[in-house]
């Protein structure tokens, strides 16, 4: 069952559950931040509307910079602003930022310890019809190796808003990973976002498997757990919304309860969230794991749900992975 203590959306499994794009939470947080802090500035590379910075641009034109289709320039300009007392957000598709400007981010933002927040939109195959070029499925792998970077991968629009607000409070680089399509609202305004804590969203007695999920895949994991419960298979579902620094203590504790683990992410399995969990458990509590994600291949154009199904990343794939890891 959903963990009642966390004040999650009770209508989550209803047909008419509210859906919003994760990126929408970013846009509303920026508006708030713009009012609260004069040092907040926003840059985009010709993606004002689709990365949800348009309202900020309209309301705070002096603190908004359109750099055109030039992601390297955007990152390094933000780096200059970030070392000059500004809280600089750069907003583009993750396929281009950090996909195209990775070394610029390394040198001018990460190693330079500049106060820049990198918003990577259109993460994952659920970007859909635009196709593989616009589906960022390597960005976690690219970003997780950066020392000192904080990485947030929120599960819904509400958590995205909280993560964005939190990012502004951190004095240093942050990567925010957002998906494009509308997805079910899982949390509520009252739910707590603790950047240091992995929370267990689905709880059960005598769980056999813990499912660690990140981003919109949390919904697929929760669906899987609900279906599995009806089949008499008890699981836990943990929301890994902070990928770095990683709450290793909770990962070890909850996987000790279940003994087996499945990870679920809209990203390449190689180098993604599953790898982080596997590294943590290999070191602290070796545990059988199955990985749900893009498996060393690329997807294609299509509708988000069609892609999740075809590339074995939907709730059915997670259910199969749970059964498989139990059978091992």
């Amino acid at each position: 069952m959903l963990n009642k203590d966390l004040k999650l959306n009770e209508n989550l499994f209803n047909e008419d559950v509210e859906k919003r794009a994760v990126r929408d939470g970013f846009g509303s947080a920026l508006l708030l931040l713009g009012e609260q802090n004069n040092n907040v500035v926003v840059l985009t590379a010709d993606l004002k509307e689709s990365t949800r910075v348009e309202e900020f641009a309209n309301k705070f034109p002096d603190r908004f910079f359109e750099v055109g289709v030039a992601e390297q320039n955007m990152a390094a300009i933000a780096a200059g602003l970030g070392v000059s007392g500004k809280v600089a957000f750069i907003s583009s598709y993750a396929a281009f930022s950090p996909g195209k400007n990775w070394e610029t981010i390394k040198t001018t933002i990460i190693y330079n310890q500049s106060n820049v927040k990198i918003a990577g939109h259109h993460a994952g195959v659920v970007t859909g019809a635009d196709g593989v070029t616009h589906q960022a499925v390597e960005d976690i792998a690219l970003m997780r190796s950066f020392p000192g970077l904080t990485i947030f991968s929120p599960c819904d629009a509400i958590e995205a808003k909280k993560a964005t607000m939190e990012a502004a409070n951190i004095n240093g680089p942050v990567y925010l990973r957002f998906s494009r399509e509308k997805s079910p609202i899982i949390t509520t305004d009252e739910a707590t976002f603790d950047k240091n804590k992995i929370q267990t969203y689905w709880i059960s007695n005598d769980p056999k498997v813990t499912i660690f999920a990140t981003g919109h895949m949390l919904f697929q994991a929760l669906m899987a757990s609900k279906n599995l419960e009806a089949q008499g298979i008890n699981t836990l579902v943990a929301n890994v919304s902070t990928l770095k620094p990683l709450d290793t203590q909770t990962i070890v504790e909850i996987s000790q309860k279940s003994g087996r683990v499945v990870t679920a992410e809209d990203h390449q399995v190689a180098g993604g969230m599953g790898s982080l969990i596997a590294e943590t458990l290999a070191k602290n509590n070796p545990t059988p794991i199955e990985f749900v994600g893009l498996n060393d291949t690329y997807a294609e154009s299509g509708k988000p749900n069609e892609l999740l199904e075809k590339y074995k990343m939907d709730n059915n794939a997670i259910e199969e992975a749970v059964k498989k890891v139990i059978s091992r």
Partner: protein, 286 residues
Amino acid sequence: MVIEDLTRGKLNDLKLKANKARILTLEMLFEAGSGHTAGSLGMADIFTAFYFHILKHDPKNPEWNERDRLILSNGHICPIRYTAMAMSGYFNEEELKTLRKLNSRLQGHPHRTSLPGLETTSGPLGEGLSQGIGIALAAKLDGKDYQTYVLTSDGEHEEGNTWEAAMFTGKNKLNNLTQIIDRNNIQIDGKTEDVMPLEPLKDKYLSFGWEVFEVNGNDITAFVDILKQSGNVSDKPVCIIARTTPGKGVSFMENDYNWHGKPPNKEELEKALQELKSLEENLKQN
């Protein structure tokens, strides 16, 4: 930007300082056993002019908020920057000998948070102009009147990022930013015009909405004059194409691209120091 006139006495002092900077730079490169010699020597006059005449700065308070920002985009010539910083009092000249060594603040390519007084981290080319834009934009937002000077190389104009930044600066008419291009015509693989032709460089910048000046970058008087002149430009960014001689001051290094990325050995160092010391004697007699 307020730059004082150069008196004859001050000019001679600056020439002596530039010469000393070349000596210290060669010694530190020899000590390090690796590093970039030609560009460092070529830019000694410009760095001396900046640290001892042009910049509004306080070596004892490197974080002073009103300071002018000097950004080095082509980070590989950092030996000359480190030398100018040490000579102007940011740190002890002895520390120059730690260049590129373990536990040193003088990293092989400049790292902002390692050494107070560095404005950016650089090395990978083409990123400095963009970082300078961010710093200049912050000045505008905060109503500060510091000037942002960005030193770039000609070779790094092969990087697309440089032109992305040039477009942005022109569009936004950033009149508080001055770019100085070290036009020394060499890069690792040879002459810039053989590797990838860059001319007509002046026309390129004019067409991007910049005001462009050309000057002999090894002539301190001319360089200071051009900077003063450029202060009259109020509606666009300024680009100064500074023609410099790579390896300047050492006869067997001048204009030889083989000196781009290597330090002198013992024998070469001694020969070079001999030349520079005799130049010093001449200057002292003036």
